[in-house]
């Protein structure tokens, strides 16, 4: 077992920690809080995409599309159902929390359905063609949102209640990591790796690769939808153009930089790629030029991903050194 030895423990610990931090969030500089929430949302997106692109070896370019489905659906739930269920005052914190949870679940399920719709054609396509179909789906979803007047059309939805906080974001980030890690480590989940390793060989030994691909798409899309819901209730306004092709690319870059199928690496890459543009704000003009140059140089210098090393091996070595130093 390569990854974290006790996933359930880690999940509970992270959720508790996130709850603790959210209780004292008033004392944290709002700017840092914003960056923290941005990091958490990107971790959810990158880790869920890693299930599709990394572990299952498919190439999806439509993650932003799933994210937008989740964002719109959950925003619709809180905007339309919220006032009716909670009354004018907005209800108690617990009621708001439950409503938000329901909205996120709705968003996730809607996105999962979209994932199913994309996953089904994937059994006939592979590689670049599949990438293009997912890209196409993402764009189609965007254009549809742009045209539906009930969802604000091109202007998007405004006045979404501010429900997202550190607890929700990191709670779901932990849940995403937990689900993906446990899924891939389970007996069932070996099928994802087999599909990625060699599809023909996997089929030859009786693995239903189509089903694994679809499951990967559905689970990945679910969490992308949840991330979209969190994003909507964090930015308080969503527009269709916020979820375009560029956003999908951004998430793919996180996965590849982190190392495909390497969850700890992908988490680190998601953190780095969210914090890096913030740090480059001082040189605002050159920010994106530097970002793109960095991308090219990293691919030339570390083609297997920036954080592609065995984390447990490194941890073991550090522990060994620490023990040796103590003696």
């Amino acid at each position: 077992m390569k990854t974290a030895p006790k996933p359930l423990l880690a999940l509970v610990a992270t959720v508790l920690l996130a709850f603790g931090v959210s209780q004292v969030s008033d004392r944290i500089d709002p700017y840092y809080l914003d960056v923290m929430i941005g990091v958490g949302i990107n971790v959810i997106l990158a880790v869920s995409l890693n299930l599709v692109n990394g572990y299952t070896g498919q190439f999806s370019l439509g993650h932003a599309g799933f994210m937008s489905v989740g964002a719109y659906l959950s925003a619709a739930v809180t905007l339309l159902l919220g006032p009716r269920l909670l009354g004018e005052e907005g209800g108690s914190a617990l009621q708001q929390g439950l409503l938000f949870l329901a909205a996120l679940a709705m968003g996730g399920c809607g996105a999962a359905l979209a994932g199913l719709a994309v996953g089904i054609p994937s059994f006939r396509l592979k590689g670049d063609y599949l990438a293009l179909v997912t890209l196409g789906f993402g764009e189609i979803i965007r254009v549809i949102f742009q045209n539906v007047e009930a969802l604000g059309g091109a202007l998007g939805l405004n006045g979404i209640p501010n429900y997202t906080n550190v607890f929700w974001v990191y709670g779901f980030a932990a849940l995403t990591v937990f689900t993906v890690v446990c899924l891939v480590r389970s007996t069932y989940g070996r099928g994802f790796l087999a599909t990625q390793d060699d599809e023909i060989a996997a089929e030859a030994v009786g693995i239903d690769t189509t089903r694994y691909k679809i499951v990967a798409f559905v689970v990945g899309a679910f969490f992308a939808g949840v991330a979209g819901g969190l994003y909507g209730h964090f930015k308080l306004t969503i527009t269709p153009t916020g979820f375009d092709f560029t956003k999908s690319i951004e998430i793919v870059v996180m996965v590849i930089l982190g190392g495909m199928g390497n969850t700890p690496g992908v988490i680190l890459a998601a953190i780095l790629l969210t914090v890096l543009p913030e740090m480059l704000r001082a040189v605002e003009q050159y920010r994106m030029v530097l970002y793109s140059l960095l991308l090219i140089v990293l691919m030339l210098v570390r083609p297997k991903g920036l954080f592609n090393f065995d984390f447990t091996a490194v941890a073991a070595r550090l522990r060994w050194k620490y023990l040796a130093a103590r003696k």
């Binding site: 196409g136 045209n147 994106m288 970002y291 793109s292 991308l295 691919m299």
Partner: protein, 296 residues
């Protein structure tokens, strides 16, 4: 009827521009098997070269137009070869995804360097060729549209000749068919790949100038949408297949123009992709592509 012909003409000129870009995608895919995302930004650079050349050339003259077009093509060819040499060559033989990410990085680099150097505000493109309207039986043909179609057809014929009638073109097809076997019979792959990039980028540069003539304002992000559409066109026709790219581009250009003229116009971008998905589901290798089963 007139309206139908008018739309047909508009679609033809849009399709011709898509075709010029799509050819570059498809040729590079043919020899290297990767999507050159930076291609759409080479197209943008072509438009900017045309813009700056146009400022120093006499306006409204055919010669000026040709010089601007040639300058853009030459400049883009050099840029394309440089990009391949510096960025893609070190990664050759590595995993496709890495090359893809590098290509995305290169694309972003060109876009944002463009914004830094040229500024993000759109600029009006100089009228480097005589802008005239020709009216035939109520059908209005603008000089620009006509030139777009003529130049595109000429360039595609030239490409066809280059690929099928010259030695380097034969070498290019050999590399596309089987790079290792091509190397074994003494083809210098590096030269062929540089040539492919140069050729494809020159066509994109020409496409950039022609696009700017028809939609007379240019900015550093202008390449993104036409680039994406052109790539869709290349896949539609069967990626790696040169006539296929032209066919796909024409179909896409026509469909978009007709949808633009109907009440579904706001769904234009979605429908281009819907057609793509539908075609890929029924013919996974594209219209003219050959479907190969994987052998073990």
């Amino acid at each position: 009827m007139t309206e139908f012909l008018q739309q047909l003409l508009n679609g033809l000129s849009l399709g011709a521009i898509y075709a010029l870009i799509a050819l570059g995608y498809t040729m590079v895919y043919g020899v290297l098997r990767f999507i050159n995302f930076a291609h759409s930004d080479v197209f943008m650079v072509g438009a900017f070269i045309g813009y700056f050349a146009g400022q120093h050339l006499p306006h409204d003259s055919v010669l000026g137009g040709i010089v601007a077009l040639a300058a853009a093509m030459a400049g883009c060819a050099v840029l394309g070869i440089l990009i391949e040499r510096v960025v893609y060559r070190p990664l050759r033989g590595g995993p496709t995804l890495n090359v893809l990410i590098t290509a995305i990085g290169m694309s972003l680099f060109l876009e944002y360097t463009g914004q830094l150097v040229f500024g993000a505000t759109p600029r009006p493109f100089p009228s480097i060729i005589p802008a005239r309207m020709i009216s035939v039986h109520g059908l209005v043909i603008s000089m620009n549209q006509l030139i777009v179609i003529i130049v595109a057809v000429l360039l595609m014929v030239a490409l066809e000749l280059a690929v099928y009638r010259t030695k380097i073109g034969t070498a290019m097809r050999a590399v596309a068919l089987n790079p290792r076997a091509a190397q074994l019979v003494g083809i210098n792959i590096d030269v062929v790949i540089s040539f492919t990039f140069g050729l494809g980028s020159a066509l994109a540069g020409a496409g950039g100038v022609l696009y700017a003539l028809n939609y007379p304002s240019i900015d550093p992000l202008m390449g993104v949408v036409p680039g994406l559409k052109a790539f869709v066109a290349a896949v539609l026709g069967g990626v790696g297949n040169i006539p296929g790219a032209a066919l796909g581009a024409l179909i896409l250009g026509m469909t978009e123009t007709f949808i633009d003229g109907s009440r579904w116009s706001t769904y234009k971008d979605a429908i281009a992709f819907a057609i793509l998905i539908a075609i890929l589901l029924f013919r996974p290798a594209g219209l003219l592509g050959r479907y190969t089963t994987e052998k073990v």
